[in-house]
Amino acid sequence: MSAITGQALAARPAVSSRRSRRRRRDLAGLLYVAPALALVLVFFVLPLGTTVWMSLHNWPLLGLPRWIGLANYKALWNDKAFWRALGFTSYYTLFATIGLLGTGLALALFAQGTGRAVALYRTAFFLPVVIGFASASLLWAWLANVDSGLFPALFEALGLTSGRVNILATFDPAFWSVTVMVVWKMAGFYMVILMSGLQSIPADYTEAARIDGASALQRFRHITLPLIRRPFALALVLCVSGSMLAFDQFYIILAGGPQNQTVTAVYWIFNTSFVSFRLGYGAALSMVLLVILVALSVVQMWLLRDKEEAR
């Protein structure tokens, strides 16, 4: 009995030294992540906190902010213009996402093989991605210009329109020209994401499915699509959140027109904050948009989650 107690006593210093060693190791780990932590703190957590704080104030550009509690959020509830902007943003997000992921997947399928020309195609498809959104929008604004642009003249020459028509003057052609521009500019990015998924599918699966008698369409539906679910989920979340935050293209090409029909949520926040200088109210709008985005992303991740535990 006493021998056992003696052993237990002797073991105690060993345990405590092990514990202090572990504490030192934890500290070292914290030190390693400190720079990243600092960046997140300064560029994400602090601005987020400030935005929340601002949203609870009447915050003019000049003059003192005044605490008003949840008044901004109550006002927002009745702000028809904001909800209309949000509705338009959702409409745009729907078509932009379908266009971007559909085109991205088609390009990925086309450019996933091996061959000398394939590298050229990939580069060509990806090239527009590296252009800034503002530059691309300016280019498009010029192409669509009714007097000097290419599109009105081209449509006229092809006999699609009688005379030169200003395609940016009515909602549908204006909306679609911006959406097509976005697809042209960003599809290459989603092509790369989806291609990484396609290329990670072993050729054996396709061959086994060929022997199993699955047609090319059946192989795509039953083998390829389920196996690129993860990169597809990533592309979807990026695409939806990117589209919900659309601003540059509608600001530069359409300036929110025609008849303010293409004002997006971010555009409205920009107008509120930096045209009307209602910074507190703009902050409240931003918070609502953030909550909507988080909710959307969670729903998408849940829908595309991995149903099997192990693979």
Binding site: P202, D204, Y205, E207, A208, A209, R210, I211, D212, G213, A214, S215, Q218, H222, I223, P226, L227, E308, E309, A310, R311
Partner: protein, 365 residues
Amino acid sequence: MSAPARHPAARAGGLELRGVSKSFGAVEVLKNIDLDIRPGEFVVFVGPSGCGKSTLLRTIAGLEEVSEGEIAIGGRDVTDVDPSRRGIAMVFQSYALYPHMTVAENMGFGLRMAGRPKAAVARDVGAAAEILHLQPLLDRKPGQLSGGQRQRVAIGRAIVRDPQVFLFDEPLSNLDAELRVEMRIEIAKLHRRLGNTMIYVTHDQTEAMTLADRIVVLRAGRVEQVGSPAALYDDPDNLFVAGFIGSPKMNVLDARLEGASLLVGDSRLPAPALGTRAGPGLDVKLGIRPEHLRPARENEPGLPFTVDFAEFLGGTTYLYGQCGPDLSLVVEAGRGPVPAAGTSLAIACDPSDMRVFDASGKRLR
């Protein structure tokens, strides 16, 4: 013990290859291959890496198109027929099980794609699962199975297709040694039970010897020899087959054929009876399997052998040593006292156990 009855619905088809060639760009991987495989036969393609054995199998499957030649399965020309309509099923080295489907879905995939009713799919999958004892695993995903179980599922998926010819592409190479032996026996039993034609690719000559009715030895896209394991072992057509089949390898010694005797180093041995008698002398290669070498009897002409190293394996002992400069030998000694390194003894071999090859490696008979 009587052999299990063959599967009543066995659909065994023979296979004919006529002048099959396959090139990838300028590289000719298969060169004018002719082959006849009888219905129900178990044929193993064996050869070193890059010999074209997998390409030959994929060509038969239709996953690669032939550059020239014809392929017939069950008497029907399938050279230009889609893989799914050739009456074949294939088991891949990686198993190629669809990771997002359950075992049952994997096995029934082909039938579902063909639009077969659910009940019929379930019945066929159930029957195949019973053969391979897979019933408890039917609802699992491949990721939840062990290597051996995945292998059985891959075989099960092939059985569901009810093929005339099963194609196996190195199916055991991803398994550990113990499981490989187990699965080898299981595949052999399956062949006896199903009775289908099976073609099996491997680089492991032990697998080839134990499984095959006939072995096809390939080298650099050509068929070197076709025959039963015993025929290839005892009666190789050339030095390549002699060296490839058998472990440890056949001993090959430089020798000179002079009339009825062979000159090896400074020793003169009686030559086996050969149809071609060499006159003044012919440089040849003498092949002797380790188990055919034994201590020379009194007054028997033999080779002086110095033991470098002895490998005791329990049942037998392999002696590694020299019988002259640049003349290495392996001798299989039975159970008994193991000679120490440096021991010298005279060893001999019956002329009937000697294989003689010409300088190009072709067998002299």
